[in-house]
Amino acid sequence: MSSKDKILTAVKASQPEQRELPPLEPPTEGRPADPAKQFVEVLEAIGGRAYIVSGWERIGMILKEAYTADKRVVSGCAGLGFMMESIDDPHSLENVELAVLEGHFGVAENGACWITEDRMMERALPFIAQNLALVIHKKDIVPTMYEAYQRIADAEYGFGTFIAGPSKTADIEQSLVLGAHGPRSMTVFLIDEGMSDAGFY
């Protein structure tokens, strides 16, 4: 008998009697009135940064101010106008200073953004870059992971991930250090189309 058959037979013989799956809709008491506000607060608490912006132009300006031309910035966002050429080998991304990618939505309760590989250019990119910026729309912030999985329940992807803040560790005496292996900083741009930039110029 193969190990597969052996295991399945043993499991089947040991299984307790059928138990039903519970309903998944959580009680709604205590939901945030303003998910975007909660998202920003939680993201900052876990070491990330948030900018609420009027659109892509504004994001481009902020990035130009923060990153000089000698730094390698890789973008997968059509809206930024400087889409990166295709990447042949993920190892070549080692010296990327900043990756700017478009996420699908954010989650207010934990500051995470969901992004799938079709928006990553290369699976390794959001992890290997020294700094990461994700762009989502302010309206696309859901209160909890329950709503998050409602959104992606039937989504097709080969790889997808929730990213909540910069890479971090507290393995040395519980001292929090940002930038374990992955990005040392994580910025989320929240596009609010209804917003005016007048005050910024």
Binding site: Q15, P16, A164
Partner: protein
């Protein structure tokens, strides 16, 4: 039993009292962070109950879910392997590396590979394994096993880590700054990520419906390894399955809040298909799990999501250290899982507890941990280890009673233990077992109760 049982190893750990205090407080700090995070979620108790019921359903349909998972994964282009025991698991992993001519591999956290002693097995075959989780790398360089499933080097002081890094990574002697040491590890491990062709990861959850699996890390080391490697091997116990993707919404809300008090890990990565040109393998491991599933009193232990909340809250764990459990998964849950693997060797572990019930209270999937520990004690006696059990009980009691903070930190339930523990074991074991009623584990902690009733 191993040469040294829990009580003896705990005594050794307790030689340095200030160090034990420090260990105790560090873990209590993590427990407090958990409480803060939990109190921010009004539906916490609903989440625990729902997670527990989902896991009950998983256990009652495990063979069907496993079959479904395999079919989906294969359809996604993943190769699925089945391992009946630790040795078969190790052989499968080695076989894959050999086939690709690979003798160096990066590995992210996987308690299963600790359970199977994969690193030692591969070392003998000449394969170099680098553990990439910072805490795991620290203990690997120190030549020790992890002492905690979430915080592998929680027993090490930063000065000791500085010394280990000085010796192995060439950092300046005497530098023990966590920021500096983490940066040194970052540089050291980046080189490994960039040069290794094979990566092994653990699995936190596997979805029967879609064939995908989810790996949660804060450091990003699982992703760095997997996305840069030509071959990704993911190893999982068969109990890691959940029915549908949407069930992740329940477990991801519970896992990290229970573990470290964060709202979620930095990365919750969903691996469904290999990337073009890459090979992805899943090894499904039984290693005693189907046996445990057949044991009515103990099968609930398979619901565990390895958050380690029961470790951090356990007065015995905090004051005896992870290594005193002499097993891969220490703490209260390890004391239930290990006797299933080898009852003789781990007969001491169900006794390494005050049965205060704090573990059952914090467990995010509502495992009746302290009840199961109590039941293991009875089984151990029934199986003919009574003299051993008697000795162990005395040793544990002596140990607990001579370390007052163990039962003090256990709080009210600890005082209950004091009142109800016969001080002389001359009466035999019966008064202990017959004469005691297990306290009903409170549904909420005092803190939660207070918060609710203060309004």
């Amino acid at each position: 039993m191993s040469k040294q049982d829990h009580a003896a190893l705990a005594d050794a750990f307790n030689k340095d009292e200030s160090r034990v205090d420090w260990h105790d407080q560090t873990l209590w700090f993590v427990r407090e962070k958990r409480d803060k995070a939990v109190n921010k979620v009004p539906e916490w108790e609903w989440l625990r109950e729902t997670a527990s019921q989902i896991k009950n359903n998983v256990l009652s349909n495990l063979s069907e879910y496993l079959t479904q998972f395999e079919a989906q994964a294969v359809q996604n282009g993943v190769v699925v392997h089945w391992a009946a025991d630790a040795n078969e698991h190790n052989e499968i992993v080695y076989g894959l590396l050999k086939k690709h001519g690979v003798d160096r591999m990066v590995k992210s956290k996987s308690m299963l590979t600790e359970e199977c002693h994969l690193n030692e097995f591969l070392a003998e075959k000449g394969v170099d394994v680098v553990d990439t989780d910072l805490g795991e790398r620290v203990v690997q360089l120190a030549g020790e096993p992890p002492s905690h499933i979430v915080l592998p080097c929680i027993h090490k002081k930063k000065e000791e880590i500085g010394e280990i890094f000085h010796e192995h990574l060439g950092t300046p002697a005497g530098n023990a700054d966590p920021q500096f040491l983490t940066h040194a590890a970052r540089l050291h491990l980046r080189e490994k990520f960039l040069t290794r062709k094979a990566a092994l990861t653990g699995v936190n959850f596997a979805v029967a419906e879609t064939g995908e699996f989810v790996v949660c890390t804060n450091e990003g080391n699982a992703d760095m390894g997997a996305h840069l490697a030509d071959i990704h091997i993911a190893c999982m116990g068969i109990e890691k399955l959940i029915p549908e993707r949407k069930h992740l919404g329940v477990f991801l809300r519970l896992l990290t809040r229970s573990a470290t008090g964060q709202p979620v890990t930095t990365y919750s990565s969903h691996f469904k298909k290999p990337r073009p040109g890459q090979e992805m393998h899943i090894v499904l491991v039984d290693n005693g799990r189907s046996t445990q599933l057949g044991k009515k009193d103990f099968r609930n232990s398979l619901k565990c999501i390895r958050c380690a909340a029961c470790f951090n809250t356990c007065p015995v764990y905090r004051r005896s250290g992870g290594h005193s459990y002499h097993t891969a998964v220490a703490g209260p849950i390890g004391s239930i899982l290990s006797p299933n693997l080898d009852m003789k060797k781990y007969a001491d572990l169900p006794f390494a507890s005050t049965l205060c019930g704090s573990c059952s209270n914090v467990c995010p999937v509502k495992i009746d941990i302290h009840d199961q520990l109590y039941k293991w004690r009875q089984v151990i006696v029934q199986e003919g280890y009574a003299p051993v059990a008697k000795k162990l009980m005395m040793k544990t009691m002596t140990w607990v009673l001579s370390h007052p903070s163990v039962y003090h930190t256990a709080g009210k339930a600890g005082r209950w233990f004091m009142l109800n523990t016969p001080f002389t074991v001359n009466n035999g074991l019966n008064p202990w077992w017959k004469g005691r009623e297990m306290p009903e584990a409170p549904r909420e902690s005092f803190g939660q109760w207070y918060k609710r009733n203060r309004k």
